[in-house]
Amino acid sequence: MIILQPSNYNDAKCNVFCVFLGHHVDDGPQRRPNRRQGAGRGGAKGRGRGKKAASEDEDEDDEDEAPRGRRVANKKKPTKKRGGDEEDDSEDEAPKRKKKGAANRKRGGKAQESDEEDSDVGKGRKGKKGGGKKGGKEAEDTKDLNKWKSNQWLSYEKSLFLGESSGDLFGFLLLEEVEEKKKLIATIRNKPWRMKRRLLDLKEAQEFVDKFEGALGKGKGRKWFAYKVMMKKKWIKFQRDFENFRTACIPWERKIKDVESHFGSSVASYFIFLRWMYGMNLVLFGFTFGLVVIPEVLMGLPYGSIPRKTVPRAEQDTAQDYSVLMDFNGYCKYSVLFYGYYNDQRTIGLLKFRLPLSYLMVGIGTFGYSLMVVIRTMAKNADVGGGDGDESEFTFAWKMFTSWDYLIGNSETADNKYASITTSFKESIVDEQENQKDENIHLRRFLRVLANFFITCSLGGSGYLIYFVVKRSQEFANRTDLSWYEKNELEIIMSLLGLVCPPLFETIAELEDYHPRIALKWQLGRIFALFLGNLYTFLFALFDEVNTKVQQKEIITRYYANYTLLLNGTGATPPPMSPADVIRGPCWETAVGIEFVKLTVSDIQVSYLTILIGDFARAVIVRFLNYCWCWDLEAGFPSYGEFDISGNVLGLVFNQGMIWMGAFYAPGLVGINVLRLLSSMYYQCWAVMATNVPHERVFKASKSNNFYMGLLLLILFLSLLPVVYTIMTLPPSFDCGPFSGKAKMFDVIMETIDLDLPAFLGTLFSYAANPGLIIPAVLLMVLAIYYLNSVSEAYQNANMELKKKMQMPESKPTKTKPGTASKGVNLERDVALASPNPNGRGPVSRPPGPRGPAPMPGDGPGRGRGRGRGAPPR
């Protein structure tokens, strides 16, 4: 018979094959199973291929709806499989068999010695089972059998050629596919498909991975592998939960969004910055309070136990007066808020907490942490930067496609945006028509120089004013009959300057006629210079004061020395003295701390009052007096206030600088600042929503976020300098603060090294502090910086080259079609993937062929097919 011949042949081959594989070959039922084995393998391969082909098809299918894609895939799988085995197994059986195979494989793994064969045998057994079950049915239908066997033959042939490696190949293919599916799961959110399809694909891929991933490991490693897979899944789940939790913890998301939709992203960028600042200060607050203030409160000596913790007798009468407390004198001065309150005991409490060391470390750590956070944020922001905006080849196209801010959700803002877009288009048109107006350029240049001259003058003036006031306040300090104004002159003048100068600058900047974004930067830079000048004049004046105090201190120490000499001379025991009566030196650290706290508080008051009067009262007047006024107040002169981005940002940055500088002398300052930022968030959000109107020329604060960060970094460095200077050079006060009695503040570290660490570490440190070691280390660092710098430059060059090369093929065939066309089609396919809108509207009914220049072979049909399918299935 015709059937027998190939079947016998098959068997012979099969035996050879099985021996080759090292199988047990028992005679009876072996025939069919082995056939099945081949079939299984071929089928599996075929299936693998089929599935892959199907998924590829899915990719190419442009207008494919998810369910349809699924159906097509299902349809295709069997067709492809028919090449391998033309049997009755339906789609559903395949997974079952595979599962069984996996189960069997485990048993097989024990029986066989070699791992390689293991999977093969597994498949063999799998085949056996499946075959045994179905054997009867198969024999009935000879025609089918015939067909089947001839196909079998083919698959045997194939397996023979592939030999032993076919098993591996299968494993490899499976592995590959699992990897592919995993990749799909990870990136599915980036695919421009419909959600329904994504959900289905995701489910399919997940099922596939679940099913087969565990089967991939081999031999002894399998359990470990399965465990690893499980742990990985759990880890991913945990990560996601954690991410959910983290985003739930980010506050004010809704508030900022509201502001953003009303005022555009430039105003919102201020609030985002404010929130960022709050987060950073919260951490600083945690450090300062957790490691310095709270240990002192809990474990340190109580109030009134030693002179530095007691209000002096002379001040006690007024120590509780409101005005005194508002100046942070009296009880405030002798509290944990300030440096002077801390004792110089090496360890406090039962825990032997080393407070002085912790104080110094927190002081330095504050800077370290801030520096790290600022720089990291800057790097992250720079990363996001994306497109390089310096190329101006797309002026109109960019305006056309990227100028609308999709965040705008307020009609007023939208109107302004429409207007500004129209103006910008008109401006560009005018620019395009007549490139430059010469007579204007000179005038403009002159005006700009003039404006800068004015601004420099006012900067110098304000600097001198502050210096003058600080000098005068030092004179005042020796007098007692001071009026309220004279006492607070410095703060008032500084706040007034901060209040008057920015609007002045803004008025002067009108002369310059810059684009608002550039104008904002100039404005920011100028106000920054003003604040910085003020701050540093203030600091220098303060240092003068500190120096006089240090001199005073010497007088008192001498007095002390005499006093103790006297006591020793008479040999009498000193009479018991209340800590309030002890003569004490001027604690310059506390004085500096008080200055900073006062400055911060007055800054808070001024900025809140400005909002209340400048914005709120103005808005109320404009709104309600408008009914009975001779001109339109809302549209006319006072109108409503705009949100002053530059002023607010700089206020924040400047304030942060004072916190950094003052935090070392007044640990409580950080707490005050956190409260300020918190209240500021709510207060300003309310104020901006209730009283301000959107900017006339709505503009985007593009990337200026990093500009803010740059300012912050600069301020950080500048505030780092004086603090480090005092820590390293000035002698601390002898009778107050955690470092009293030491020659320098950092002696605390030396002391800790000497007393607490083992001796060899001390010697190690002394070696490390040796200039002979430090200088080479510094040199090494400089070299490293130089090296990294040159490397990054080289990378940048390479980047530029690559960019050029990328642009070359784009720009080369400017007027020739095929080059870009092929790329166009390729990309177009992706677009098409995302465009399942095949309902009969307009050009969709066009035939696919002629559209698009020279479609890639094999690509066109796929697209066409998808398109021709008509309405998506429901």
Binding site: R194, K257, T402, S403, Y406, G824, R846
Partner: protein, 187 residues
Amino acid sequence: MGNKQTTFTDEQLEAFQDCTFFTRKEILRLHGRYRELAPHLVPLDYTNNPDIRVPPTLIVTMPEFKENPFRDRIVETFSEDGNGNLSFNDFVDMFSALCETSPRELKTIYAFKIYDFNRDNFICKEDLKKTLNKLTKGELTPEEVTLVCNKSMEEADLDGDSKLSFSDFENMVSKAPDFLSNFHVRI
């Protein structure tokens, strides 16, 4: 979810999180917003994936869209039937693509589709004109419109077929400094 009625099963939420850029909370909030649009239409319980669509007239009233000149196009682009009727899946899809974290490539694809008014996979002069008129509320004179359209086409069209293919568009947008920050909607 506790004592509240379940809107989604955990698996659904996981799947949504895998397929979008949203967290669990955001997806629930999205559902809230979606339901707000048509409370009589959208059920609270989504565990069995009801097939419900909200018409575009309701979607564009959302504060996120009501001022957007391209709102109709956005809704149409993301709807499965192309008419702007959005199922919840489409709705989530839309905000996922427009959210802050979605990558530039994805956004570019959808932006292209939004600006492609006649859906022929090319942005032609007509599309540009429509875009421009929507952006400026028709404030420009016809000559200006023509000039701007010609200029933009000239700038962005690399292969000289006087219509923008996706690659032209992508090339242009990939260099735009404002695209990412402007082309997103926060929900």
